[in-house]
Amino acid sequence: MKKYVVDKLAQYVIVLAIVSVIIFVMVRLNPTDPVSVIVGGKQTTAETVANIRAEFNLDKTYFEQYLIWIKGIFQGDFGTSFQYRQNVTSLIMKRLPVTVGLVLLSSVIALVLSVPLGIITALKQNTPLDTGLSVIQLILVACPPFLTSILMILLITIFTPGVSFTGSFTNFNEYMQRILYPSIALAFSMIALTSRVTKTSMIEQLNSNYTLVAKSKGLSMRQRVLNHCLKNSLIPVITIFGTQMGVLIVGTVLVENVFSLAGLGSILIDGVKSCDYPIVQGIVMLLVFVFITISMLLDMLYAVIDPRIRAKSGK
């Protein structure tokens, strides 16, 4: 187990390092000169331009810029935004609660609904209930989160006019109200695939030999499912949930826009438009960091669930 953890941690650090280089390069592939954005199209002297370059370290080599960026990250400093002339870290911190809330709440909603849904459709295979739920799942798979969001906004405004669910918030209650609907929209797209995978893997476990043995021991259907099949069937579910995290994080950016929430999404998109290197590379790095961290934690979870993985990598 120790070796497994060390291996995974080493992988994790290497991946983060490579990704940071890729992000750094990608951001600079944009042909627009950031200085023109910073000055906002005003007439400027060569001297002002040189001053601006010096202020934002744009006069240094790419290698030096990269080192400054990475050093800053370790000190919790993502640099200064070109457009806002503000510290990127504080910009991110102000907007982080919305994005983190969306990711967490939608994951919880998705898991709480899709695992039981998968189990029920597996147990009620080939019944009208299964068919009905499968059709709903198919529709959900086909609906991207921003479309679901727009439909939800329509429905909410038609059926409960006056309820406010977009814009800023001042207390926790309002915060939850703001993120609930977009989280549901995000969760829908995850529920479809996750419940499908739960169903398939649950059916496989129900047909397995050890389940037949459990039946021959006198265990009821309920005991067989809960005490034996559930844990086994969750292994592929964890995998699929991990890969969907990436889609989910991208989804938050879109959904924040539709619900006009002050999350990372809106400043990220603004940042891309205006060539704001520190904002774009900072936020993308943060999102990727969250994604890779979740994947790593899921890898650890496999080992906790499955003794064979623990054993394969030495005690």
Binding site: S208, N209, Y210, L212, V213, A214, K215, S216, K217, G218, L219, S220, N227, H228, K231, N232, I305, D306, P307, R308, A311
Partner: protein
């Protein structure tokens, strides 16, 4: 001697996409108390189907039973409710399966799976269940029990796992133990050990055992009586010694011929030429006629009925071999 299980005209029909499969056509089988009863026949002849029917283990959404399985002379297992079946499974009738590598839950410790059987059927504390599980492990020859108790299935060999399965199956002192090809997946020496273990346990607690195999050698080794099955029906049954030395049905003779000889390692396996009939077709006449060297027109016209030839010995063949 009274019967523990009396199977009367058992039929099992499966609804498959390619039509109805008569997986069991018409089985009559009596399992006496305290005996080791063998059920032998080639793969696919319906042995497992019959065994699973005794415990009603099939997924019943896609199948139909016919006939009766009378348990202890008074209750028909085929009409029992699921709740009643759950009380019998594991407690009164338990089963050991073929592939020991897949019969235990890979994610649960061996001890936990043993305890589970005991806790399911008896009012004991967890500590008492553990105590009993450890004794059971020692009884089936697994040492050191305390250490094995904590291990996961993938840490044990096939032979060990089959011993664990046996320990689990006898945990609640069942009246009937069904062993379906329980030694087939193991190598020859381990096979013999496991058979000896089953025999010992049977002698100790006097349960009945139904040994299912395609290998007549296994039958000869531990069984008291044997039923020979071909194409979903019993074609001959009687005491093992009698059948072995004085087989009446050509299929039984051929099966005995094809016992793998020990000591002849690597020697070619004698198999019966031809294949069993397709179960989706209706079988007219004797099912074995296609492969039988004694078959005549009479055999192909109508099916032979079981008839008696000596004490407890019955067979279904139109020819009367001396």
């Amino acid at each position: 001697m009274s019967e523990l299980i009396n199977i009367k005209n058992l039929k099992v029909n499966l609804m498959s996409p390619r039509g109805i499969v008569h997986a069991v056509r018409d089985i009559n089988l009596e399992i006496a108390q305290g005996q080791i009863h063998g059920l032998v026949g080639e793969s696919g002849c319906g042995k497992s189907m019959t065994a699973k029917s005794i415990m009603r283990l099939h997924d019943e959404k896609k199948m139909l039973y016919g006939g009766e399985i009378i348990y202890e002379g008074n209750t028909d297992i085929l009409t029992m409710k699921e709740k009643e079946l759950e009380q019998i499974r594991g407690k009164d009738i338990s089963m050991i399966f073929q592939d020991p590598m897949t019969t235990l839950n890979p994610l649960l410790r061996i001890g936990k799976q043993l305890d589970e059987m005991i806790l399911q059927h008896e009012k004991v504390s967890k500590a008492e269940a553990k105590e009993r599980s450890l004794k059971l492990l020692e009884k089936v020859g697994i040492f050191p029990a305390e250490q094995r108790y904590k291990q996961y299935p993938f840490e044990l060999s096939g032979g060990m796992l089959q011993r664990v399965s046996i320990a689990m199956a006898i945990a609640c002192n069942p009246k009937l133990l069904i062993a379906d090809e329980s030694t087939t997946a193991l190598d020859v020496t381990v096979q013999a050990q496991i058979l000896r273990l089953i025999k010992e346990l049977q002698e100790q607690n006097g349960m009945s055992v139904l040994v299912i195999t395609h290998n007549f050698g296994v039958i000869a080794e531990i069984c008291d009586v044997v039923s020979v099955m071909y194409a979903e029906v019993i074609v001959e049954h009687g005491p093992v010694g009698e059948i072995f030395h004085n087989p009446k049905h050509p299929y039984t003779m051929d099966l005995i011929q094809s016992i793998p000889k020990s000591g002849e390692r690597g020697g070619k396996l004698v198999t019966i030429p031809g294949t069993p009939p397709d179960l989706r077709r209706k079988i007219v006449g004797c099912a074995y006629a296609e492969r039988c060297k004694y078959a005549t027109d009479a055999c192909r016209e109508s099916a032979p009925q079981l008839e008696s030839c000596g004490e407890n010995h019955e067979f279904a063949c139109k020819h009367k071999f001396a």
